[in-house]
Structure formats: C-alpha cells, structure tokens
C-alpha cells in the first residue's frame, strides 16, 4: 500500500515502511528489520561509494527503525556526511537524524559542529535555519560552548532574515536552559528586549519566550520589557479581529503572543509607572469584557483561544493580588465557567479558583460558589475534575464553612477513587484540625476518617489525633468514650485499634465509672482485637496493658495472665516477647509508686508544625500548599498544642524538631536533660508509640538492668533493651572517633561546637558554647571530671563563648571525661551532661613501615590477649575512599602495598601516654559481597587492643 503523496519520493523507504506495516506478527517485523539493518550495514561498509540519494534513503530507514523503538548504533557518520551535502533534502535528513539520535561521541560532535558552523556562516537563510533547528533540538553543552557566542549576534543583526531571527531566539533559549553560564547576554540585552517592538509578529512570538526566560533569572536587567510588553499587548487587545491577518486565529487576534505577553508580565510586580499600569489595567478589563461578548464563531478553537488569553489574564491578576475589583470580576467569570458545558473549562475554572481562594480580596467571592463545587465533587464524571473540585473545597475552607466542607469530603471519601484517597484523608485531617472549634468534632472526624478510609490514614494522621488529645484535657474523656464505642464495631480498622489502645491506655480511667465500660470490659474489648493485628499494633497494645495495670489495679491479675501466656512470653517476635517479659516483671516487682511513676500519663507535646501539613506539601510538591497556609497551620497548630492547661516540666529541655513526626518517634520527643539528641533512639527502644516518657524510661531501664542481675537470664531474649540504650549514649561520642571538629551537641537553646588538636600525649579542646536564643544564659558553669579552666558565666543571646580544655594522656583509658553544663535560661535551670569525645586513638602517632617490618611486628604481638578481633556488618556504604579517610582520621598511618590483598587496609601507630607508649597494628578486611568487615587490632597492651576494636567497630 504505497502512499507517498509528497516529497521527493524515496521509493525504497516507502516500500520498506509498507513491508513493516504488512508484517503479521512482532517476530515477522523484527525479522524484516534485521534484514534491512544487515542490508544497510553492508551498503555502508561496501567498497562502492554511495551517492547522496542512497545515503539519505538508508539514513532515513534507520531513523524509521529507531522511531519504531529499536536501538540504532550505526549510521551516525553517514548522517554527518549528509550535513555537508549541497542538496537541501540530503542536508535536511542528515540534521534530522542527528537531532533524533543524539550521540555523545566527541569526534562526531566535532564534525557536526563544523558542519553547523559552515551552514551558519553560509548566509543562506534556509541552511542557517536548519543549523539553528539542529542546535535547538540537541541543545547539548558542547553545542552551547561552540555557538552560544555566535547566536546572539545573528539574533540582533540588522540584516538577518526574520525566519532566521525566530530560530535564533528559540535556539538561544534552549542553550540558556541547558547551560545558562555560557549564554551571556550582556551587551545584547537591550537589543533583545527591543525585539518586542519588531514589526514581524513571528519574531516577537519567538523572541518573547527567550525574554521571559531571561527575565525570570535576571529581572532587573530586563525590566524595560514591562512597558514594551504592555504597549504591545494593548495594541493586540484593541485590534479588530482581522487586523493581524494570518496571526488572527479563529477571530482571536494573536492568541499565542497575547498569552506569552501576559506570562512575561507575571515575572514582574505591577508596573510602577501610573500610565503603564493604567494601560495594562485597561487591557485586563478589555479581556474580561470580551469574555462576556457573544462568540464570533461557534468553533471550539475560537473559544479556546479566547479563554486561553482570559485564563492567562486572570493568572496575572492573581499574581498582582492588588486590584480587588479585577479579582472579584475574575472570580465571577470563573464562577460562570464552573457550570459551563465544556469539561475543559470547568476543570480550568476549578483550578484557577483555587489560587483565587488564597487572596484576601477574593476569598469571600470564591466561597459563594461552594454549592456548585460540592456538586462538582459529587457529579463530575472525570476523576481529574473531581480532584480539582476537592482541591478547591480545601482552598476555600475557613472557620465558617469547615463543618460543611469536611462533611462533604468525608462522604465523598466513601466512593472516591483510590488514586486520590490518601490525599483526601490528609486534607480532611488538616481542615478538621485547623478549624476545630470544639474538639469533640475533631475527634469524631478523625475517627470517621479511620472508619471510612482506614487504609489511607497514614501514621501522621493518627499520631496527630493522639497528640491533640494528650494536649487538651477537655477532650480526653470524650475521646475515650468515642474510641470505646468505635472499637465495638465487629470489623474495625487496625488504625482504630492503635488509636483506641493508646487513648484507653492513657485515659480509660475517665470512662471507667460507667459499668458498661468498666476496666475489665475495656481490656477485653482491646484484647479481642489483639490477634487480628500486626506486630507493631500488638506491641502498642502490650504497652496499653501495662498502663492498664497502673490505672486499674483490679485488672492486674488478668493482664499478668495474658502476659504470662506462651503466645506472649515465648512469642517468636523479639519485640513482643521482650515487652511481655519486661512488663510482666515490672508489674510484679515494682511497687505501686514506682509503677505510677514509670507509667504516668504522657506530658503534653511541644509545639511544632503539623506534620500532616508537611506531608501534604511533600505529596503535592512545593507550591501546592501556599506559604500562608503553612504558617497559618503552624500558628493554629501552636494554639492547639499550647492550649493544654498543664505546663511542661520546666527543668526539661524539650527539643522540638520542625520536621519531626508527631510522637517524636524519629526525633525530638520531650526528653530530659541527660542526652537530648539521643532521645529519639531511646524512645525507639519502645518503638512505634513513644508511649512511655523518656525520663521514666531511664528508671525502667535501671529496673531492667537491676532485674537482670538478680534473676536468671530470660530465655530467647535477643538484644537487651538496656544495652541498646547505653550504646546510644556512647555513639554520641563515637561520632568523633575519626574526626576532630564538628558540632558536639545541639538543642533548641544551645549549640556546642568542638575543635580539637592533639600532639604526642597532649591535647587541646576548644569548646564553643553558642546561645541560640535571644535571651542571655546566666550562671553558666561547666564542670569536668578532669580539670578545666572556668568558662565565662554569662552568655548573651545570640552570642558564643569559648572554653579551652588542655588534656594530657597519663595512661591508656577507655572512659571519656564527662562534661556537666549548668545554666539558667529565663529563670529555669538547665542541666546537661555530655561525654567529651576524647578517645584513646587521639593520642596516636602514625608510624610508617614497610611490608616486611609490619608482618614481623604483627608476629611479635601474637599473644592471644594482645589481639582483639571483631566481625561486623557494614553500616555504611563500603566506599574505599571513605574508608581511607576514616582510617586516616583515626590517627594511625595507613600503609599502602603491605597487605597482599589490595582490598584490605593495614595501619600502624603508637599511642603516646605519659606512662608508656603502646604500639598498635590494625588490619581491616572488607568483604563487599557479604557487606561485612573483619577488624583485627594487635597492641602491646591488651586493654588498648580491646578498646580500639570497640571504638572502630562502630565506625564503618
């Protein structure tokens, strides 16, 4: 079925395309293609020189094969040859091939650039355009390097043809996008801006895209474009529909250019010059007026072009956000579109209204359309339109209509498309929180969310409801009652069990007076869900149970029995087993007082930005949630959190973290002074919930440790929690094993920087105490369990003081010195204990030695206690360079070409102390496949080997 209608009739190509189309199967097609590829290869390789036509035909066939989705790895050279042909069509096909199959071979690029250079200087406009098109299509850095200097000249030269100017402008735009550093407008700026005045509409249309992009990056240099753009726009808007001849599109004068002009103006604030501004406002009014005029054509192209300009004008009006009259008119216009029969217009109106809703001038006007938008949410047949409607409802929500909007969104959720449910859930949760007047409504809403769309309720959402309930005691009783009722549903979502467990564990006592929700009934209700839940939820429930024992002593024996059952105490999951064992022991050995302290109600959460808002923002990408909204959310969330009557523990340093999740699982839960930044990990000991307060946790850890010394080890208990806790404290100082400078500690108030230098057995540490607040710290003292110079007792707000500590290593050691810091901040005494990162390796003197020496010494240190060895899993990527840097930071000499296996690292050094010198050798053998290391340290002193091994095992 040959169908060549135009062109120069490459018959062979048409036949080939027909063959491909006639192939009955994919296999047949591949076979035909392979045959053709073989044929082309042999022609290209053959002795006989191909004429231009054949070359063009084969290159074209290759192009066709590539566009079918097959890989092409040859033919580039033939295509490059075509570039220098004198025949236009051959050149054209050559350029097309190069543009579609961009190749990074540098030799080819040199040849291509040469051909382009020739065509650019040919003064033949058709050839120049081809070359410019090629640059614009490829847009590589190499091309920018070669031509970014030349093209501006072509663009502004007086004798350049219009069509060449158009191509040059957009070619330059493409190069600017890839390599802005290479496109220097400098001297050309003003002449480029004046292209806006060019007589040829096509030149203006092309140039304005370039000017817009440049203006975004350098608004000041290009600001003269504003008045030029306004007068150009004004001329177009006021022209009759036939004035612009072929630039009129379905009776709309120059729609593309108009849109681009309006877009350019959005790079700038409203014009300061009154006359220019007046002219612009006039234009915008004319555009709004035209929207009300009867259409000049029934064609959709007419209305699309007209409305494209209208929407762009509305964007500009919203961008200025300073003309109440125009904003309200825009809003009314969009309101009409909300009920238009064209789906496209309804979609765009909903989208555009979303931004109008955030302007104070038009917010109320947008709100009047609430019924239409709700109706759209219910009746639109296209999910993308419904999505826009949901977005708009979210944007127009305020205190006055929150209940209605939340109710509508909730009912929509029941039938909403799966693709948008999670986002809808987040939005409902945010609105409910932001505009909650009474918190029972808020609690109801979130529980409804879980009921309707439990699978889509992310952690952030249910954490948040707990956080709010904890911070507001007026809603706690209601929350307990409501979750209790919700849990009675035969099938309830696991998230409901989580919230229920947490809330009843904390506030179950508030409803225990009612015999229908007596403690035992509550417990049985929770426990009836236990077996259907995942491990994290079960872990949470176990914590709820131990809280029950504290709240309701009468449930103790029942709960102990549950904890004692094999399914708990011998559970194959370590976390569950551990909780069961420990809670059981805690409940049996601790006195009521101790129990009450450990399991006391959680303190209020610190103020911080709502993490659900942050999540929505992340989900929608920046720009989706306006800054305003975020700040408002923050403020309101602040009210919520601070609203609780109970003040925080004044001696505690809380470390709110802006990005943290609600319950401080990953950071910044209220943590007492001991080691604030370790708090997150410590809370992780109890993982999932952060259900037990950190200060009390320490007590519990004490109990656990204590317990372990007096009772037999518990079978199957894997990692004792107390070990992982102290390990965390240690790891703080461990960060500095391989480096000497950095931030030692930081919380909301204070930052402590450290710089240290070591020579022989002496060291000097500079500590920098920075006051991050605006209030001074008074009676600032530090004590070290070794001697130190006193520090300045007062730190002004925002200031930093320095303390120098001189250190002498007397003998080898394993415990780091402790630094205790006390000061008053706004009357409250702050107390902080830190480990100074002084480790034995700081006193290393590197020792260079040859392979032979190394192994001789290695053998000399062969007594078993002189060697310490550890095999451990890599906790960072196994990057050779990083490893080397770390080993060098350790202070030993890194010896090259010593170990026969090049993958291994060996080091040697001598630790200098006043009492003695301890020679040490180290060998680190990475196993990339297993992601494991074997570390061996040999020293003349056994304690040193052991300590080094411990320190280093944490570093890689």
């Amino acid at each position: 079925m040959p169908a060549v209608s135009k062109g120069d009739g490459m018959r062979g190509l048409a036949v080939f395309i027909s063959d491909i189309r006639n192939c009955k199967s994919k296999e047949a097609e591949i076979k035909r293609i392979n045959k053709e590829l073989a044929n082309i290869r042999s022609k290209f390789k053959g002795d006989k020189a191909l004429d231009g036509y054949s070359k063009k035909k084969y290159v074209c066939k290759l192009l066709f094969i590539f566009l079918l989705g097959h890989d092409i790895d040859f033919g580039h050279m033939e295509a490059v040859n075509l570039l220098s042909s004198n025949k236009y069509t051959e050149k054209q096909i050559g350029y097309l091939f190069i543009s579609v199959l961009v190749n990074s071979n540098s030799e080819l690029i040199r040849l291509i650039n040469n051909a382009i250079k020739n065509d650019l200087s040919s003064r033949n406009p058709t050839f120049m355009c081809l070359a410019l098109h090629c640059i614009a299509n490829v847009g590589s850095r190499e091309m920018a390097e070669a031509f970014a200097g030349e093209i501006p000249r072509i663009l502004v030269a007086g004798d350049t043809m219009d069509s060449v100017k158009q191509s040059a402008a957009l070619c330059l735009l493409r190069l600017y996008k890839t390599s802005p550093d290479l496109v220097l407008m400098g001297e050309w700026t003003s002449r480029v801006v004046h292209l806006l005045n060019d007589q040829h509409m096509g030149v203006v249309t092309a140039a304005i895209s370039l000017i817009t992009c440049l203006s975004q990056k350098n608004p000041d240099e290009f600001k003269t474009c504003v008045s030029l753009a306004v007068s150009r726009l004004s001329r177009i808007v006021s022209s009759a529909s036939t004035d612009l001849q072929d630039y009129t599109y379905y009776f709309v004068p120059a729609p593309w250019l108009s849109c681009k002009l309006l877009r350019l103006l959005q790079c700038y604030p409203p014009p300061e010059d009154g006359a220019v501004k007046g002219r612009l406002v006039e234009c915008l009014e004319t555009i709004l007026n035209k929207a009300q005029e009867p259409p000049k054509s029934k064609k959709v192209q007419h209305s699309n072009a007209k409305n494209a300009i209208l929407f762009e004008a509305i964007s500009l009006i919203i961008h200025y956000d300073s003309e109440p009259n125009l904003l309200v008119r825009a809003c009314n216009q969009l309101g009409q579109f909300l009920q238009h029969r064209e789906t496209n217009l309804r979609y765009l109106a909903l989208e555009s209204m979303c931004t109008l809703a955030s302007s104070e001038f038009s917010h109320e006007a947008v709100k009047t359309h609430i019924e239409t938008v709700i109706n759209a949410l219910k009746t639109e047949r296209d999910v993308s339109v419904r999505q826009r409607a949901a977005d708009l409802l979210y944007a127009m929500c305020d205190r006055s209509n929150a209940k209605q909007i939340v109710a509508e969104m909730l009912s929509y959720l029941e039938t909403a498309d799966y693709s948008i449910r999670e986002e809808m859930v987040l939005k409902v949760a945010i609105l409910a929180e932001k505009y909650a007047v009474d918190y029972s409504w808020y609690v109801d809403t979130i529980l409804n969310l879980i009921r309707i769309a439990g699978d889509y309720v992310s952690e952030e959402v249910w954490y948040r409801v707990i956080q709010i309930v904890i911070n507001r005691d007026d809603v706690q009783g209601y929350a307990a009652k409501t979750v209790f009722e919700a849990l009675q549903a035969p099938a309830c979502h696991e998230n409901m069990v989580k919230v229920g467990g947490y809330i009843l564990g904390e506030f179950g006592n508030l409803i225990a007076g009612d015999p229908r929700s007596s403690p035992l009934v509550q417990f049985n209700l929770l426990h009836s869900k236990f077996h259907l839940c995942s491990v994290p939820t079960r872990a949470l429930l176990l914590s709820a149970y131990i809280k029950f024992i504290n709240l309701f002593p009468e449930t103790k024996s029942t709960i102990q029995e549950v904890l004692r059952s094999d399914s708990q105490i011998r559970n194959s999951d370590v976390e569950l087993q551990q909780r069961a064992v420990e809670y059981l022991k805690l409940s049996s050995i601790a006195s009521t007082d101790v129990l009450a302290t450990v399991l006391e109600e959680m303190p209020p959460f610190p103020e911080r930005e709502s993490s659900i808002l942050a999540k929505l923002k992340k989900k929608k990408g920046p720009g989706a949630v306006s800054v305003n909204e975020l700040e408002e959310g923050k403020r309101e969330a602040g009210e919520l959190n601070g609203g609780g009557e109970r003040g925080g523990d004044s001696s505690a340093i809380s470390t709110p973290s802006p990005s943290a999740d609600l319950l401080g699982l990953r950071a910044g839960h209220p943590v007492t002074a001991a080691a604030p930044s370790a708090g997150s990990l410590l809370v992780d000991v109890f993982s999932e919930t952060g259900f037990i307060h950190y200060g009390r946790l320490m007590l519990l850890i004490f109990l656990r440790t204590h317990e372990r010394t007096i009772t037999k080890p518990v079978p199957f208990l894997a990692v004792p929690a107390c070990l992982s806790a102290s390990h965390t404290l240690l790891s703080l100082a461990l960060r500095f094993v391989c480096k000497n400078n950095g931030v030692l500690f930081e919380n909301q108030l204070l930052q402590i920087g450290i710089k240290s230098e070591y020579r022989q057995n002496l060291g000097r540490i500079y500590l920098f105490y920075g006051n991050k607040t605006s209030v001074q710290f008074v009676t600032f003292t530090t004590t070290l369990n070794v001697q130190s110079k006193p520090v300045e007792p007062l730190i002004e707000g925002g200031a930093q003081v320095q303390q120098v500590i001189n250190i002498e290593c007397l003998t080898d050691f394993s415990d780091a010195p402790l630094l205790n810091i006390k000061f008053r901040y706004g009357g409250a005494l702050q107390n902080l204990t830190l480990k100074l990162p002084v480790t034995i390796n700081k006193f290393f003197q590197p020792t260079e030695m040859a392979s032979h020496d190394f192994f001789q010494r290695w053998k000399q240190l062969s007594q078993p206690q002189q060697e310490a060895q550890k095999i451990f899993k890599a906790s960072h990527a196994m990057d050779t360079e990083v490893l080397k840097a770390k080993l060098l930071g350790l202070g030993m000499a890194l010896l090259e070409n010593v170990d026969p296996n090049p993958e291994n690292f060996v080091c040697a050094g001598v630790i200098q102390s006043k009492a003695q010198q301890v020679g040490s050798l180290l060998r680190l053998e990475p196993n990339a496949q297993a992601q494991m290391y074997r570390l061996t340290v040999r020293s003349s002193k056994d304690t040193v080997s052991k300590r080094l091994c411990e320190l280093l095992a944490e570093q890689f």
Binding site: K6, G7, N137, F311, N344, D382, S384
Partner: protein, 160 residues
C-alpha cells in the same frame, strides 16, 4: 513544552519530539506510561491531566492522539490550540491528512513541527508563513511532488 507524542489508538507511537534531555530508557518509560494513561480515558473526559509534576494536554483526531507535556505555569488551552494548529498545518500540507501520511512521510511531519515549534516554544504561529517555509524547501528538492494517492485512511481533520 517538554515533549510531544503522537500515537495511534492501538498505542503505536507515530512521532515523538523531546524538548528536554532524557535518556532513551526514560523516554520509553514515559511513552509507555502516558500512552496507557491517555488511551484509558473516556471520550468525554477533559483534555488535561496531572502527571508526575507536569500537565498533560491531549486531543484525539480520528485515529491519532496528540499529547503534549507542559509545565506548571504553562497554559493548557493555548497548548490545545498548538496541537490544533499543527494538525491544520499537516492537513494543509498533505491535503486532508490521515495517519498514513504521517507514517510514510514521518520526516515531513518532523520538518513541519520544527518550523512551528522550536525548543518547545511557538516559533511561528502563522499558517501561511510555516507552509511557505516548507514549500520553499520542497522547491529546493528539484523533484516535483507526485500526485496524491487515493487515501484509504480516515482524515484526521475535517475542514468545513
């Protein structure tokens, strides 16, 4: 505009134009995903959709879908008319264009597109000027265009 794709109702890609640098692998992935998404949509649905962080504007002409990806601040309606103007240009050049014309003369479809859009921006919106440029190029070929063959395919575009 970041890219433009033309594909048939059967999901066969007929033309692809990329205005941002992407690897071949990434291009194939995007194409697959978008062709699937667009073909799954019903006829009366709106011509715009959000996809990744881009906006997709598409329109169907007879058996062919024209699909453009634009950025957040770009104008959907004017993009719709970019598609339409391109169809008009093809129609005028081939004389009642159909899918087969684009298959057999894919290189011409590219040349026309390059005259109309460059680097993803409208270069010349006048139909006359674009066609004049293409026809001048055709004159340079020395070979006169052959007579149009009988079309067995549905025209993309019905001029009234």
């Amino acid at each position: 505009m970041q890219f433009m794709l033309l594909f048939s109702r059967q999901g066969k890609l007929r033309l692809q134009k990329w205005y941002v640098p992407l690897s071949d692998k990434e291009k194939k992935k995007i194409t697959r995903e978008l062709v699937q998404t667009v073909l799954a949509r019903k006829p009366k649905m709106c011509s715009f959709l959000e996809w990744r962080d881009l906006k997709i504007v598409y329109k169907r002409y007879a058996s062919l879908y024209f699909c453009c990806a634009i950025e957040d601040q770009d104008n959907e309606l004017i993009t719709l008319e970019i598609i339409h103007r391109y169809v008009e240009l093809l129609d005028k050049y081939f004389g009642s264009v159909c899918e087969l014309d684009i298959i057999f003369n894919f290189e011409k479809a590219y040349f026309i597109l390059d005259e109309f859009l460059l680097g993803g921006e409208a270069q010349e919106t006048s139909k006359k000027n674009v066609l004049k440029a293409i026809e001048q190029a055709d004159l340079l070929q020395e070979v006169r265009p052959g007579p149009a063959l009988a079309k067995q395919n549905v025209p993309l575009f019905v001029t009234v």
